[in-house]
């Protein structure tokens, strides 16, 4: 059955992809949605089987690689962590498949789109159910591939193609870290299966090795390398530049891949590898710092973007930062919990944004929106639900998960934790601010679009709205899972799938914090909403005035801290320039010039010079002989004398 959960989407993808022309658009939609729906239902059965009945197991398919002691199989590892991820991924993916029927109705290559979506789901499921590093890497690269394909789905747009390549390459940079981490793990433990490695970790807790001349704590080095991979996939600061550009893809893709599932793979990885990270405290604090900085960085940038999808993209980036610093302070349960709730409310926000874009005839700039709430009331309400959950307003899903993360950071008591706490609180304020900025700019105020577009504004069809309600249900009631995932029952719930060393239990510590700390995130969130109201409803001229007064800061934020420009100048241009230089100068002028071409040219010129000696005049030859005789005699005499 677990095999069916994972492979049904693959079958759907193959049918829709290869036989799309034969079965038609409708056929492709039915096949992929049907199989994915089945997979989602089965995943709930698996969840029951694994989590409630306690049947944790590994389903081995067949050997993949067996080279010396480097041996591993294709296998599905079913434990609580996997079961949770399976359910979240399949349910969200299923909703997005259905939504896409409506959203992509006018597209010219529908089977291709659905094939990609299902293929993505397959790779994602392989990733979360991997029982060894390499299979995880397989899923990891696979989701990256489909992400590439889907960002570039509208291949006629140059910007989409560029964004697709950028996403793939930036991810690859991270993947080098991941790959080296895997090699390091194999080098240290002599195995790449999770079970073998985790069992061996305590034994190697103090081991050291030398990596590129740096001698250090082996587990720390490995964990940092692996984390670099996670940073790439989860768009953490430094390797985040691809995520906003990835919004070039169709909106359902942004919702599924670049919000709900794929980008959370890095968080999942750190949690899955908690038995290793727990023994590498330095690596964990690095995770915390990176997560905390990303949370605040992305929130500041999100504040100044005008493209509705980019605001949500930066919001995703920021929320991923939260998940990472949760994992960094050993609150893995909270990280996964937030991953789950975030999947629902962020997918909801994206699809809501998609519904707005759909209504606005593909307009994405919020400066040309406004006053939409009357025309598209369902979307409006759903966006509120999503935003309330995102801002962590009490009793919505985000309240339970996000507040816990912020508290756990303080509860951990470390320097990194305290830093993350303050960053988290500040980012919470900004989160509320940009969320309501989005709502107010989009739905309220005077309509700022052209009349023809305004006349055309319409609510989306049922096939798009109903999935939104399902997701909204998750965003509103998802907090109900809190007692199991992060409450007192958490140890029984997670079983052996997460490891928290004694003394690192920050979730426990979070439960004992004073009330004032617990209230702080809520207070700042409400404050953020109030400020947004003040700036965008009460005093609409204020944002522009602020932007004028603090122009350098505004530009800095608007241009996303100039990361793209920096990378372009540091890596992209030099790579092309060096490549061209090596080709023309290195290969052409030096190697060929002094090598084959040079030798050939020398041979020819030598031959020509020698040929000039053959003049045919006897007196020339006689003179040469004379010179020779004189030379020989001189040499003879000198050598005799000397």
């Amino acid at each position: 059955m677990d095999v069916a959960v994972v492979f049904l989407p693959l079958i759907g993808a193959i049918i829709a992809g290869l036989f799309g022309r034969q079965i038609g658009d409708r056929g492709a939609q039915l096949v992929t949605c049907g199989l994915l729906g089945l997979s989602a239902l089965l995943s709930l059965v698996v969840f029951h089987d694994v989590v409630i009945a306690g049947n944790v197991h590994v389903t081995e398919l067949f050997t993949w690689i067996d080279s010396g002691s480097f041996e591993l199989s294709w296998a599905l590892k079913l434990d609580t962590l996997t079961a949770v991820m399976l359910s979240v991924v399949t349910v969200v993916s299923c909703m997005i498949h259905i939504y896409s029927i409506g959203y992509m109705a006018h597209d010219k290559s529908i089977p291709r789109f659905f094939s990609y979506l299902s293929l993505f789901t397959f790779f994602m499921l392989m990733l979360v159910s991997a029982d060894n590093f390499l299979q995880m890497f397989f899923g990891w690269e696979g989701v990256g591939l489909v992400s590439y394909l889907l960002i570039g789905f509208w291949y006629e747009r140059p910007s989409a193609c560029a964004a697709a390549i950028k996403a793939f390459l930036v991810n690859r940079v991270g993947d080098i870290g991941f790959a080296l981490g895997i090699m390091g793990a194999f080098f240290l433990f002599g195995a790449v299966g999770f079970d073998q490695v985790f069992a061996a970790v305590p034994e190697f807790a103090e081991a050291r090795f030398t990596f590129v001349g740096i001698e250090g704590h082996a587990l720390t080095i490995i964990c940092i390398l692996l984390f670099i991979g996670a940073m790439g996939k989860s768009a953490q600061i430094g390797l985040h530049t691809w995520l906003p550009d990835a919004m070039e893809g169709p909106t359902p893709v942004s919702a599924l891949i670049h919000a709900a599932t794929m980008v959370t793979a890095g968080v999942f990885m750190v949690c899955r590898l908690s038995p290793m990270f727990e023994y590498a405290p330095v690596a964990l604090s690095l995770v915390t710092y990176v997560g905390a900085i990303t949370a605040i960085f992305a929130a500041t940038v999100g504040l100044c973007q005008n493209d509705i999808k980019r605001v949500i993209a930066y919001s995703t980036c920021s929320q991923l930062g939260y998940m990472f610093f949760a994992a960094g302070v050993s609150a893995y349960g909270a990280a996964i919990f937030h991953l789950g709730t975030h999947a629902f409310f962020k997918a909801l926000l994206f699809l809501g944004a998609g519904s707005v874009i759909h209504a606005m005839s593909d307009e994405q700039d919020m400066r040309r929106m406004g006053g939409l709430w009357k025309r598209i009331p369902y979307t409006y309400g759903l966006m509120w639900a999503g935003s309330l959950a995102l801002a962590g307003i009490p009793f919505f899903a985000g309240y339970f998960s996000k507040d816990l993360i912020i508290e756990a950071a303080l509860g951990a008591g470390s320097d990194a934790g305290v830093f993350a706490f303050w960053m988290g609180v500040s980012a919470a304020f900004l989160t509320a601010l940009y969320s309501w900025r989005l709502i107010l700019m989009t739905f309220h105020g005077k309509p700022r679009m052209e009349q023809s577009i305004w006349d055309h504004v319409h609510e989306s069809p049922k096939v798009m709205i109903i999935p939104l309600f399902v997701l909204a249900a998750g965003a509103v009631f998802g907090g109900a899972a809190a007692p199991f995932l992060v409450g007192d029952g958490r140890e029984a719930f997670w079983g052996e799938s997460l490891l928290v060393l004694f003394g690192n239990d920050s979730i426990e510590a979070a439960h004992h914090l004073p009330l004032s700390v617990k209230l702080l995130p809520i207070v700042v969130a409400v404050l953020g909403i109030a400020v947004a109201y003040w700036m965008y409803m009460a005093q609409p001229g204020l944002p522009a005035a602020l932007a004028r007064t603090f122009r350098p800061i505004y530009l800095f934020l608007l241009n996303k801290w100039y990361f793209d420009e920096l990378y372009d100048a540091l890596f992209v241009r030099p790579a092309f320039a060096i490549g061209r230089g090596l080709w023309k100068k290195g290969d052409g002028a030096v190697i060929d010039g002094y090598g084959p071409d040079g030798i050939a040219a020398t041979t020819i010129s030598l031959a020509q010079r020698i040929s000039r000696l053959q003049t045919g005049y006897v007196y020339h030859y006689a003179f040469a002989m004379l010179v020779g005789v004189v030379g020989l005699v001189t040499w003879y005499i000198l050598s005799r004398l000397g």
Binding site: F62, T63, W64, I65, D66, S67, G68, S69, F70, W74, L134, F137, F138, W140, E141, G142, L145, Y148, G152, Y155, E156, P158, C161, A164, I165, F168, L169, R172, V173, D175, I176, A179, L180, M183, G184, F186, F187, T210, F211, V212, G213, A575, F576, I578, G579, R580, L582, W583, G586, D587, I591, D592, G595, P596
Partner: protein, 509 residues
């Protein structure tokens, strides 16, 4: 089972086909048609025969199988000796698989001197297969050099505009290396009095001699692989060669270098290998990976781009072989087989649009997916295999090599891993410029998607790429015992060598 000479049959069946074609007479048209069919049937028959080799091959032993022995030049103790082990057998199959595909690919592309072309290809197949099967140094050398002749002709006669320059460059580069190898072979013969490879594998050559022998072999194999900086013949040869020529060149000829390292340098000259690995092999390979990847990024000609990518991929192979770890060598083997299939396929991919538009320039194309969806899909699969996406053959090879390298030297692993990004960069950039975008060129609007003949060429290659990626065990099983044997002998030899030299350094009191 092994009383009939299977290997000789596989080796010389194509030659028989060539003789057949030689005697075809009649109208120009008929000759061409018959020559194509005869060549296809003979090469296909060879492939079927070689499948027998695959199935009858006994796994789990490092012994040479299907061994044959005929005394050839008794006075010099030179014997015609054939046999395959887990290292050479996969290459025999690679050669026999690619040849019929090449002939299919040339079906319509070659219009002049079809008869001679087919003869050249069949002779080439004989030489390639013979080289991988040969178990006597002299026989090996004859086949090794013999490969040059048909290839030289194929580039020089059926090539592009600068074919003569390229053909000579190719010939002189490889010949310069081979001459040194010939000297080395003679030196071995005068030292030991034998040219029998299996016996030589167990013979220890004096260390001071090893250094020179190693360098001589290195000169020959490094040109073949090709390693930086003796790689510049490759882009030129590829660009000018006809499609099928590039396929064999990239698919099989480059592997002769890697095979040579694995068959001769490492097992016969272990001390010298240990000495030169950090001095020559690692630096040159790393330069190859990074340098040629960057150069590939700047290319405007598709074939040149793929040629440069070959140099980068083969750089990983040399690293893998000289890590002398189970993962490293098996990874190098898989990488060679994978590259043999993938780069061959990529050249065929370029050939498809070259046949239609007669241009290899990237800027000549855009938005092909619009008109050629099947082509775009095939291109995608091979591109991803070249990039090394897990699930394709490229990944298994690349990753195992890096695993091997990591155990020996982490810096080498890190530098080679940078190829993961650079490789993806130039391939994705190529794909985007050719396949994606809006179709703006008027004359592309009537371009046709793959024909059945072309699909039939790509289908087996895709199957192999996925098979090797998802279940590489069928290949690793074949080679594991032989690879383990190489490593054991290497380590034993080094251990034996270390004793006296250590004793010399720290005399025991």
């Amino acid at each position: 089972m092994s009383d009939w000479p299977l290997l000789s049959l596989i080796t010389f069946l194509p030659l028989l086909g060539a003789a057949f074609i030689f005697f075809i007479r009649g109208e120009q048209e008929d000759i061409a048609r018959n020559a194509r069919s005869v060549a296809l049937w003979f090469s296909f028959g060879t492939f079927v025969l070689s499948l027998w080799l695959w199935f009858s091959f006994e796994r789990g032993t490092a012994e040479f199988q299907w061994a044959e022995e005929v005394l050839w030049i008794p006075g010099f103790n030179i014997t015609y000796r054939m046999g395959v082990d887990g290292i050479s057998m996969p290459f025999v199959l690679l050669s026999t698989l690619l040849t019929p595909l090449c002939i299919l690919a040339s079906w319509e592309a070659i219009k002049v001197r079809v008869k001679e072309y087919m003869i050249a290809f069949l002779v080439l197949e004989t030489m390639m297969v013979g080289m991988f099967c040969a178990l006597d140094l002299v026989v090996f050398y004859i086949f090794f050099e013999g490969v040059l002749i048909p290839m030289f002709l194929i580039i020089g006669i059926w090539g592009g505009a600068r074919r003569v320059y390229s053909a000579f460059k190719f010939f002189l580069f490889t010949l310069a290396g081979s001459v040194l190898m010939l000297l080395a072979i003679l030196a071995i013969y005068f030292e030991t009095g034998i040219t029998d490879i299996p016996t030589l594998l167990d013979t220890r050559l004096p260390p001071e001699m090893q250094t020179w022998l190693w360098l001589a072999f290195f000169a020959s194999f490094a040109v073949k692989v090709p390693m930086w900086p003796v790689h510049t013949w490759l882009p030129d040869a590829h660009v000018e060669a006809p499609t099928a020529g590039s396929v064999i060149l990239a698919g099989v000829l480059l592997k002769m270098g890697g095979y040579g390292f694995l068959r001769f340098s490492l097992p016969m000259l272990p001390e010298a290998s240990a000495l030169f690995t950090p001095l020559l092999i690692y630096p040159l390979s790393i330069i190859a990976v990074i340098y040629t990847s960057l150069v590939a990024l700047a290319q405007e000609d598709m074939k040149k781009l793929i040629a440069y990518s070959s140099v980068a991929h083969m750089g990983l192979v040399t690293v893998g072989i000289f890590t002398v770890t189970q993962q490293g060598i098996e990874g190098a083997m898989i990488q060679m087989l994978s590259h043999g299939v993938v780069s061959a396929a990529l050249f065929l991919i370029v050939g498809v649009i070259y046949d239609r538009m007669h241009s290899r320039l990237i800027e000549r194309y855009d938005g092909l997916v619009e008109r050629m969806p099947a082509y775009a899909l095939m291109f995608m699969v091979f591109m991803l295999a070249s990039v090394g996406l897990p699930g394709t053959s490229g990944f298994v090879g690349e990753f195992l090599v890096l695993v091997g390298a990591f155990q020996v030297n982490t810096a080498v692993a890190v530098l080679c891993a940078s190829g993961m990004v650079l490789g993806a960069a130039y391939m994705l950039y190529l794909y985007r410029r050719v396949i994606f975008g809006k179709m703006t060129k008027e004359d592309l609007r009537t371009i046709l998607d793959l024909s059945w003949r072309e699909k039939a060429i790509f289908a087996p290659l895709i199957a192999v790429v996925l098979w090797m990626g998802i279940y590489p065990m069928s290949f690793i099983d074949v080679m594991a015992a032989s690879v383990a044997n190489v490593i054991d002998n290497y380590e034993a030899a080094l251990a034996a060598a270390e004793g006296p030299s250590l004793a010399a350094l720290w005399p025991v009191e």
